[in-house]
Amino acid sequence: MKSDGTNSNARTGETILDMRNVCIEGYGEDGWKTIVEPISFQLKRGEVLGLIGESGAGKSTLGLSAMGFSRGGCRISEGEIFFDGMDLRKASETQLRDLRGARIAYVAQSAAASFNPAYRLLDQFVEAPVLHGVSNARDASQSAVRLYGEMNLPEPETIGFRYPHQVSGGQLQRAMIAMAMSCKPDLIIFDEPTTALDVTTQIQVLIAIRKAIEAANAAAIYVTHDLAVVAQMADRIMVLRHGRLVEEGEARSLLAAPKQEYTRQLLNVRTERKEPAQVDREKDMVLRVRGISARYGKGVRVLENVSVDVARGETVAVVGESGSGKSTLARVITGLLPPYEGEVAFQGEELAGSFAERSKQDLRQLQMIYQMPDVALNPRQRISEILGRPLRFYLGMNQASCRERIDELLREVELPESYAERFPYELSGGEKQRICIARALAAEPRLIICDEVTSALDQLVSEDILKLLNRLQKTLGLSYLFITHDLATVKAVADRIVVMLQGCVVEQGEKDEMLRPPHHEYTELLLSSVPEMDPDWLDRVTADRAASGRLG
């Protein structure tokens, strides 16, 4: 671990994991293919290794192989994996079963998907120690309470009696880390444990992970695509790309002086900055949302007196944690959820509450781009049909002009024209999102609502998407309402920022003004939670917050 002093244990420094020339193959249509090329590394007790790369780099596959496991359709084809002197590739299934969960623990990306929804947290915690004969149920329950406390979970005495759906995502992730610690493992594998979380929650989980590794004096492998996060956690970093090792080094020296071009690209991500738009906020208002309140059914209010304006050619970013009501705001504006109070005006005219009552022209001028391009595109339609439908539906184009315009749209989003005949599954995630952008553009809109459009994408890819959106705005004079929880995205695209918390607007204003202190208390919390490339960032924030008494 980074912070010295606590690891004065005599065993620190003993090699616990030794991977030698491990090569992993995956089964595809044309037989077995190498997905991770021979790679070797050693891991000492108390050391954290960061595996970083884009999706498809093989980092998770490599992480899992450290416990002698490969996913269905994959196999470890070569090499040796020594865990505490024992070759896992030669070990029997029974021997492996004894190790996994007891001496090697695994923390998955999505805690919500990994917990069994039918059992209480405590029952799931107790299972491993009892099964492995580490302790009896009573002792295990006691250690659960202790670990829950260490993980800063609220009410550690009773939280174990809740079901997974009764706690928040960040709490569930911490409960899973506590569970991984239940048998005092020697090696913990963290597979993107904070990727699905808000920044404010992420910081708590990061602190919890650090504590856990420190307390167990364990070795850890930390798999992530976020270099800023890995900078906080790892002693050593390995950069992977297409199953190949790009660069390896001590965390600090690698971040300070990367040798490879690819590592430099990863480090320089999130540098896109938009030129501020020149807008006339008095006259040229595209969207005016006034005093909107909304609720689901007759129950809880999810929006409370929200007012937001978007002028022509500007980008307004709406930020907040999940559950803050920012996506609900988008649903109200698009008419999917008619507001309970307040009005939405588009280009000076009031819009009907429900989209079903709006005119075709209103629908056309207000388009939306979604978070998950996979489910936003019909998998059974060709790209030409996906892009062609709005052209025919809104603009009544015939076959020939439709063809021409589709080619034009594809060029506009920097894709080859030959993609028109493809199906969505033949495209990568970033390319699919470009198609979604092209579909929105096909309607020739005034305003596009972008709902977390980059959060499902790799950083380098999302950077390109943001650049594309900025360029399109400049050439076409579009307005964006940008919904996101990622403040790096906000810095890249926004002219104005609206901060939301629990259904209310906490603060709003020009970007520069908003990013300059003094902030509203909540804005400050959001801003300070964004990880920075600086390896000392987490320590600093922890210290700051401890000083001001706002941790947890």
Partner: protein, 284 residues
């Protein structure tokens, strides 16, 4: 020419990828369809022509013997294939049209529409289909159009449930929301956004339901409320010749075998399609 080559080559590659069991099924199904289509050409005698005495032995003139009225059994089987398969197919198509339309509508509109349609279906499902159809047919009469409509209505309740549950997972997708926000009409959304994504399980179900309808018609004919004599159909042929069993004559088993062979053939094909569409990869 190209229009012909494409489907033929598509069928060729499908044929090559099919396992042996599916190939057997395909051969059986196509054989019966071929026999049904060209019944008039293949059959040695007319559908209702009496060619000999009752329950004759197999001979050169009557290859499978004669039935209880002295008609050629082979001819009856051939015409029976045409009648039974044609009616079963028409019934299944109509049943799927009704079931899919109402099922998609229930899923896409939700709320009261869903409640109303689902409860009607629940009521219909609570009565055994054979008893319900017997009741309706004895009230409405047993002409072919009535038979088809009654069976299609009753069978569509099963299709409704499948179509609704499959499309429930589809209507929540963002691409359906995109289509709604674009201002598309319900029919377009059902046809272009939902149907292509639900078609795989529905096709597999189509094969299964075809078998059930086919057996139901045979059962109804056996009970005297299906196709009326002298129209040849396999179910009523079993019934009409059932008396022969007590004399040790195998005649009623022959149409029964025909029913069994088509059912097995269709099921072999359907099993293969289910496997193909379930998205499960063969374990390596």
């Amino acid at each position: 020419m190209n229009a012909l080559v494409a489907p033929v080559s598509a069928f060729g590659s499908l044929w090559r990828s099919a396992p042996v069991s599916a190939k057997v099924g395909i051969v059986i199904v196509f054989l019966w369809i071929f026999i049904g289509l060209f019944a008039g050409v293949i059959a040695p005698y007319g559908e209702t022509e009496v060619v000999g005495s009752v329950w004759q032995e197999w001979s050169a003139e009557t290859m499978l013997g004669t039935d209880q009225l002295g008609r050629d059994l082979l001819t009856r089987i051939i015409y029976g294939a045409r009648n039974t398969i044609f009616i079963a197919l028409l019934t299944t198509v109509l049943s799927f049209f009704i079931g899919i339309t109402s099922g998609f509508m229930a899923a896409a509109l939700g709320g009261w529409t869903d409640q109303l349609l689902s409860r009607i279906v629940d009521i219909l499902l609570s009565i055994p289909i054979l008893i319900f159809s017997l009741m309706l047919l004895s009230v409405l009469g047993t002409s072919v159009p009535v038979l088809i409509i009654v069976l299609a209505m009753l069978d569509s309740t099963r299709v409704f449930r499948l179509a609704r549950s499959v499309s429930m997972d589809i209507v929540v997708m963002d691409y359906v929301e995109v289509a709604r926000l674009r201002g598309e009409k319900l029919w377009w959304i059902m046809r272009r956004e939902i149907l292509p994504n639900a078609v795989a399980p529905l096709i597999a179900e189509f094969g299964l339901r075809f078998c059930f309808v086919f057996l139901l018609i045979s059962a109804l004919s056996f009970l005297g409320l299906g196709l009326q004599p002298p129209t040849a159909d396999w179910g009523s042929m079993v019934r009409e010749n059932a008396g022969a069993i007590s004399f040790g004559i195998l005649t009623p088993l022959i149409p029964a075998l025909a029913i069994a062979s088509l059912t097995i053939g269709v099921n072999l094909v359907v099993d293969w399609m289910l496997h193909k569409t379930s998205g499960l990869r063969d374990e390596v």
